[in-house]
Symmetry: C2
Subunit: 276 residues, 2 copies
């Protein structure tokens, strides 16, 4: 198949490298900054530097830009897409993006299937991309009314490049769960490192500091867009978290060992019951 | 040297294994449950199962029990300790423990040097101990008035078994920094996994979830003791954190992209400036 990847950052770049490592598909890379596309070609991450015109030969298109930029790209170039081609995004939010791309798919005659690769790291750009970034990760698909065959094609493609599982979901469920699994840890990491103690941590820290603070090295522009496009579910999780922290503060403040032990034991039980 | 390790849990067991791996010292293991000491001997983690009487031949004694239990042990058995022997604890709190052990050192004629190995994991007991747990980690020493030679002996011992650095500190500084680097992440992890979304995370989660939730698999009894013996510094950090989370909640709630981006960017800057 001809596969076009639009946006060669960490997500798109990793898709290209994974396709080249695991499959014989022809990979077309499209990127706003030409230097990055040239670098990807030189490194063998793509077979061809594409432009909007190349879209007409793509069987599958991966949109790997900021969420709203994916929509804008299709608005501008949707007319060049081959009828019946599969288009997927890789946005970390789905309710704000999927309905727009579904509508555009009807306008331009392609098939839209939403997806979200559950992998990443605290670095950005093509330099941070890796052929094995998706190894064992979950590939979330929000079919959004796409025919079963298109969902199946995309699933097989994901499994062929190393994803460990496919999770089918609705945009609503996706956004609710992502608020907890991904957005909340990013809020916590940022809130955590803003303590005046943070700059002095060296010599006093170990794994707990490293793990909680890791994703504070955040792309502020991208994540503020992701947070604000998912306000309600994120606020809900934030308020639950703030309450749980407050309960612990109250127990510590009251020197109430029984209440404190019970709260910590609840956390322990959750992890135990999940086998983690 | 003859080294006695009292308490063969993850911390004490790892000391024993590291001494056997890296040094020729004679290791005496003392444990309340005899089966664990027997297992440690069978596995070659110790050279000898000791009792309170064995203390008289120990040149260095590592107390690796719950904080207050270290003090209670010395109160009961301090009379058996050789004059001039070095005794160190491994407690995660220092203000509540060091002055008591300093006083006991004067009573019984040994040399007390406080210490805290900055390593651990989300499992407990001798089964979880590892010869390489301390590899590259920081070994915090609170000299508490001990002679320079004793601090030097303990430092060399720590470096000889794989610790990567020695951090000298006061009990006050130690407790303030540990509230941030270690206690706060444990509070956050527990508060985090108490969200009703947590049990459904599989398929929707990746590294961020894993890292923030890891230490929620907590020893509730030990950590509630650690928290309550370090109330003021912990409360201070908890309140700073709660305020930082609240600022982010407010920005999300007000749909204020500028304020939100600025807050996240601050987090990013902290990590950048630390080179992390």
């Amino acid at each position: 198949m001809n596969i076009a990847v639009i946006g060669l950052g960490i997500i798109g770049g990793s898709f290209c490298k994974a396709f080249k490592l695991h499959t014989d598909h022809h990979i077309i890379g499209i990127n706003r900054t030409p230097e990055t596309a040239k670098k990807a070609l030189e490194e063998g991450a793509i077979d061809e530097i594409g432009s909007a015109e190349s879209l007409e030969k793509a069987d599958v298109i991966f949109l790997c830009m900021y969420p709203q930029a994916c929509v804008d790209f299709i608005k501008e170039h949707g007319g060049s897409i081959k009828k019946g081609a599969i288009v997927t995004d890789s946005s970390g939010i789905k309710r704000a993006i999927c309905p727009q791309l579904e509508e555009l798919s009807r306008e331009f005659g392609f098939t839209f299937v939403g997806s979200h690769p559950m992998a990443g790291k605290e670095k950005n750009g093509f330099e941070a991309s890796e052929a094995r970034l998706y190894e064992g990760a979950s590939f979330i698909i929000t079919p959004c009314g796409a025919p079963r065959e298109a969902v199946e094609t995309l699933s097989q493609l994901a499994l062929s490049i190393g994803f460990g599982q496919i999770t089918l979901s609705t945009p609503e469920e996706h956004d609710r769960m992502i608020a907890f699994t991904s957005q909340l840890p990013h809020v916590l990491a940022c809130a955590y490192v803003l303590s005046p103690s943070c700059p002095n941590h060296k010599g006093f820290s170990a794994g707990s500091y490293r793990d909680v603070s890791r994703v504070a090295n955040i792309n502020a522009k991208l994540w503020s867009e992701l947070f604000l496009e998912n306000r309600e579910p994120l606020l809900e999780e934030l308020i639950i978290l703030a309450n749980n922290v407050k309960n612990i503060i109250d127990a510590v403040n009251a020197n109430d060992k029984k209440a404190l032990t019970a709260l910590l034991e609840q956390g322990h039980q959750v992890k135990q019951s999940l086998g983690e």
